[in-house]
């Protein structure tokens, strides 16, 4: 018995073509979600509907030129990804075809009917972990392969194989297609290679899900301190065009403390993927000191690539991510943008002449979205390890209007909402995440982690800063009516500090060498400085000092520059800043007392 070959024998004939949707007859016996080869050019497709001997398929390649009467072959296998060494640093299209290989073989443009190996045909140094005779459990680690500078690829027993290990190769270099082990199962001997296939639409099994109590540190102040996401959590990031969805997603891919990052460019610009390909190899992971490409898998199905493959790209990405989770890693998946995926669903649905729901989207949009986000989580793996998969989805609402179905259905499932705001973008406040409308439901769950690992007062300070910002919002309404001069001095200090929180803490320059990434410690130190200044300023007001004088304090400037201070110099800088602040305080307070 082999788990590596299909048993495709069913052959039908095309009777209808409408864009990416093709119908064939003579397909009795074909299975739902089975992969098909369509037409003389053998385009890849997937069965999405069956009725008597008719099969409806979505085709992952351009169908122009396909003719009625051409043959369709069902392969007997569901749409799957190949999971094994060679995924890291790779860039795939929506159905896991390696784009670099395609470029080398066919040139700069994507041709049709191409069949390429998903995993690079190369040899890997395999180190076995178990001995012949061992009991084989699904998901068990057979051995390891050093896949990149930072990733140890654990070779897993496919989740649907168990039995007794009949033999396993010794440590050495093996080709990706070599059998490395044989398992005696109830159905006979099964040969295992370093990779296995898994259907993309079927979540990979795990033992148990845990609550998300550890934050995914992203190095982005507004996210980590104000609206944190947990490892294994979900976040939605909606925003109109130009508000910075992609920059935020790129920042997460660069700096998040995940061991593996899967980045899905779904129906977006080609040049953005080029930017990732150009930029990521040059950036070093602050934790490992190695280029961040060493932990990254890219899926690129840009807006001009076939729409059905765009629908599949999200699933291809999440299945690869789950696979690394099953090795016991913390994995983060960024999907940019889920709206384009939803639009692909809508387009296919329209071609199938299904009854449309809101804004033309199919009625099953909500369940598909929640099914996708539910594949996240921190879990006990089949191999008795712990792994997590965090999912962060960008949403592109038409006209920036959050009431549209994709945004609303996303908000119903995700636990963190990062609302990108056009007004903030116009003020060039980046990341333009609105602090009044965004939220995170992980604050309480991860508070203990911050207490144990970084600072006792993280949550307290965060809440205080939030309330200053809330107050600013209320005061602004008054200011707009009667001007800032009419406010009492204390409230004007609040306005000053709110401004400092906004400009010196929340604003973060993604393109600045130092500011692009901000550690947990630095975030705590920065916020503490601002809040300490706030307390000091309030005391000065009570002592009779004016807001104008407080504004002139050198500390204000110093805090403003804090974001550009490197981690190395941080401690001495903070000390200088604090000392100076209290000296100034003494001087001002004394001058008024006297």
């Amino acid at each position: 018995m082999s788990i590596y070959e299909g048993d495709g024998v069913i052959e039908g004939k095309i009777v209808k073509i409408s864009g990416p949707v093709v119908v064939a007859e003579g397909m009795k016996g074909a299975k739902m979600y089975e992969v098909v080869k369509v037409g003389d050019t053998q385009l890849i497709g997937e069965i999405i509907g069956l009725e008597e001997d008719l099969a409806t398929m979505q085709v992952y390649e351009e169908t122009a030129g396909l003719k009625i009467g051409e043959k369709v072959i069902a392969t007997g296998r569901p749409l799957s990804v190949k999971l094994g060494p060679g995924l890291i640093k790779n860039i795939y299209d929506g159905v896991q075809r390696p784009l670099r290989v395609m470029k080398d073989e066919q040139g700069s443009f994507i041709l049709r009917g191409v069949s390429v190996k998903e995993l690079p045909e190369k040899s890997w140094e395999f180190v076995p972990r178990v001995k012949a005779g061992a009991a084989v459990e699904p998901g068990m680690v057979l051995g390891t392969v050093k896949e990149s500078e930072v990733v140890e690829h654990r070779i897993l027993v496919p989740p649907n194989v168990s039995g007794e290990l009949k033999d396993i190769v010794s440590k050495g270099t093996y080709d990706i297609e070599d059998d490395i082990a044989t398992v005696k199962t109830a159905d006979g001997d099964v040969g295992l290679k370093m990779y296995h296939a898994w259907p993309v639409r079927e979540p990979r099994p795990y033992v148990k899900k845990h609550p998300s109590t550890i934050p995914l540190i992203t190095g982005q102040r507004v996210l980590d301190t104000f609206f944190p996401i947990a490892k294994g959590g979900t976040a939605g990031i909606p925003g109109g065009f130009g508000t910075g969805k992609t920059v935020t997603q790129h920042q997460l891919a660069k700096w998040a403390d995940a061991e593996i990052v899967v980045y899905v460019g779904c129906g977006e610009r080609g040049n953005e993927m080029t930017q990732v390909l150009k930029e990521f190899p040059e950036l070093l992971d602050p934790r490992t000191g190695k280029p961040i490409t060493e932990r990254t898998v890219l899926i690129a199905n840009t807006s001009n690539m076939p729409v059905a493959a765009r629908e599949a790209s999200i699933y291809t990405g999440v299945t690869i991510a789950e696979y690394f989770r099953d090795m016991g890693y913390n994995v983060a998946l960024m999907a940019d943008s889920t709206s384009r995926w939803a639009e692909a669903l809508r387009e296919i649905s329209g071609r199938l002449e299904e009854m449309p729901g809101e804004a033309g989207f199919p009625a099953y949009l909500a369940s598909k979205l929640s099914g996708f986000y539910e594949r996240s989580g921190r879990v006990d793996t089949l191999a008795n390890d712990t792994g997590s998969l965090s999912i962060i989805g960008a949403v592109s609402p038409p006209g920036g209007d959050f009431s549209e179905p994709v945004t609303q259905n996303t908000l119903r499932v995700v636990k963190v909402f990062w609302a990108l705001d056009k007004k903030l973008k116009d003020q060039r406040h980046f990341p333009s995440i609105n602090w009044l409308t965004s939220y995170s439901l992980y604050l309480d769950e991860i508070e203990d982690w911050w207490k144990d690992n970084v600072s006792e007062k993280w949550k307290m300070r965060r809440d205080e800063a939030m309330s200053i910002l809330q107050e600013e919002n209320e005061l602004q309404e008054i200011v707009q009516l009667i001007g800032p001069d009419a406010l009492p001095e204390r409230q004007r200090v609040t306005l000053l500090c709110a401004q400092m929180i906004r400009e010196d803490f929340l604003q973060q320059n993604a393109f600045h060498d130092v500011d692009s990434f901000c550690s947990e410690n630095k975030q705590v130190a920065m916020l503490k400085s601002i809040l300490d200044f706030y307390d000091t300023a309030l005391k000065l007001i009570d002592a009779g000092v004016s807001v104008a004088e407080i504004r002139e304090m050198p500390t204000v400037q110093k805090i403003g520059r804090l974001k550009y201070v490197s981690e190395k110099e941080l401690e001495s800088y903070i000390k200088g800043l604090t000392d100076e602040m209290y000296d100034e305080y003494d001087r001002l307070a004394r001058s008024y007392a006297g």
Partner: protein, 462 residues
């Protein structure tokens, strides 16, 4: 299937631009068809859907005169192809890619499918060579780079054509390579098209321009393929003949209207404002044909022009375009009213690829800080303008007044320029510094101190 092209006269239905033919065999999706009317007129169309023996066909030149009896349809067996050659330069074609000037026939080097093929994202080269348009509002504040797609969002009655024409006249890269221009008209008037032709003629650029004209009185459905035909020619010239091309597509709004018309005729489920749900994908298949490719000399830079209905940026056409293009140049009615040309509102305009296309070795070392400071100061000046409207100018501090003054001067000296004024990037940047000279040095917080020392005008200009 046999290769014999069959002709069918079994037309079941004619509806708007669509005809439905029964009893067909072996028809291909997207295949080109030739429709012959009873009076012998020939028209071209394309298969939109085929269901067993029924084919749905869109006819590019429209269906007037089509009958259910007496009209015949011939399936050609191939998808739409454009014969391409270097001789296309300097020529004028209709919206289908057929020559309409009196020049000789094009002897094709090859035929290319007008839908093109998607560029493999891993084969793209990241665009970063600065293009000088000679307009300060673009070069200084929203820089265009080679291989970018940067649309002009405008409104009816605004001088977007003048701006586009001036850009086509002046555009150059600092390395000196010349630009070819592909001009694509979709549903614009004869007058507008003529304006461009005259403009090209006067500037002596005609021999490096390829024009594709689908005018307002040409069939609307033809507009669906006009940009594809033009971009096919552009891809040939850029990626096979090493040319750098600037493609002007005007007006994308008319293109989208045509798309909606077809969609309505097919009785598809409409999306926002009746535009089809796949409009994003469809627009992407046009805009994404811009770019640079590794190991190829040429490039395609796109500058689509679209008039926003009711100046509404949230209208589906600008909205979906903005999600695909790499920024936008916004033409402002307010500035136009103030008689400022080019009335480009730099604040909401954006060039996403700017940050990698400017700086030392590309434009000048101080460019990034300078533009950032100009943006900030202009925004502050406009804020002051709003404040003055409420409280009067007397309530402003001296510094506030300086900002107010800055905004005025920035609009009338930096943004404004003559229709034949071609500013070099140095001139633009120096002018920017002259503007900043109106503000005290301490206010320049967004620029590196070393550039302030080097470029800040020593003597106040006022």
């Amino acid at each position: 299937m046999s290769d014999v092209q069959k002709e069918y006269s079994s037309i079941r239905e004619v509806s708007g631009p669509i005809i439905i033919v029964d009893g067909v065999e072996g028809v291909g999706y997207s295949e080109v068809v030739e429709v012959t009317l009873p009076d012998g007129t020939k028209r071209r169309g394309q298969v939109l859907e085929v269901d067993r023996d029924v084919a749905v066909i869109q006819v590019f030149e429209g269906t007037s005169g089509t009958t259910t009896e007496g009209t015949s349809v011939r399936f050609t067996g191939h998808t739409l192809k454009l014969p391409v050659s270097e001789d296309m330069l300097g020529r004028v074609f209709n919206g289908m890619g057929e020559p309409i000037d009196d020049g000789p026939d094009i002897i094709p080097d090859k035929e290319m499918d007008i839908n093109g093929l998607p560029i493999n994202p891993s084969a793209r080269e990241y665009p970063r060579e600065f293009i000088q348009t000679g307009l300060s509002a673009i070069d200084g504040m929203n820089t265009l780079v080679r291989g970018q797609k940067l649309p002009i969002f405008s409104g009816s009655g605004l001088p977007h054509n003048e701006i586009a024409a001036q850009i086509t006249r002046q555009t150059k890269v600092l390395t000196g390579e010349e630009f070819g221009i592909v001009f694509v008209a979709m549903g614009i008037t004869y007058g507008e098209a003529n304006f461009f032709t005259e403009n090209f003629r006067k500037s002596g650029a005609l021999e490096k321009v390829v024009m594709f004209l689908n005018l307002a009185d040409d069939p609307a459905i033809e507009r669906i393929i006009t940009p594809r035909v033009a971009l096919t020619a552009a891809e040939y010239l850029a990626f096979e003949k090493d040319m750098h091309l600037l493609v002007i597509l005007t007006d994308m709004t008319n293109y989208c209207e045509a798309l909606r018309e077809i969609s309505a005729a097919r009785e598809e489920v409409p999306g926002r404002r009746g535009y089809p749900g796949y409009m994003y994908t469809d627009l992407a298949s046009i805009y994404e044909r811009a770019g640079r490719i590794e190991d190829r000399e040429g490039s395609i830079t796109q500058m689509p022009i679209l008039t926003m209905p009711d100046d509404d940026m949230n209208h589906p056409i600008p909205d979906l375009s903005g999600y695909i293009t790499e920024g936008q140049i916004i033409v402002s009615r307010e500035l136009n009213r103030k008689n400022i040309y080019p009335p480009i509102d730099v604040s909401p305009s954006l060039s996403r690829l700017m940050k990698d296309g400017i700086g030392e070795g590309l434009t000048r070392e101080d460019h990034d800080g300078l533009q950032n400071q100009l943006f900030g100061a202009y925004a502050k000046g406009k804020e002051m303008r709003d404040l003055v409207a409420v409280v009067g100018e007397d309530a402003l501090s001296d510094l506030d007044k300086q900002y107010l003054h800055f905004a005025e001067e920035f609009e009338s000296n930096f943004i404004r320029q003559k229709r034949d004024e071609d500013r070099s990037i140095e001139e633009t940047l120096d002018l920017g510094w002259k503007m900043l000279g109106m503000l005290p040095e301490e206010e320049l917080k967004r620029i590196d101190q070393k550039y302030i020392e080097k470029y800040y005008p020593k003597e106040q200009s006022e």
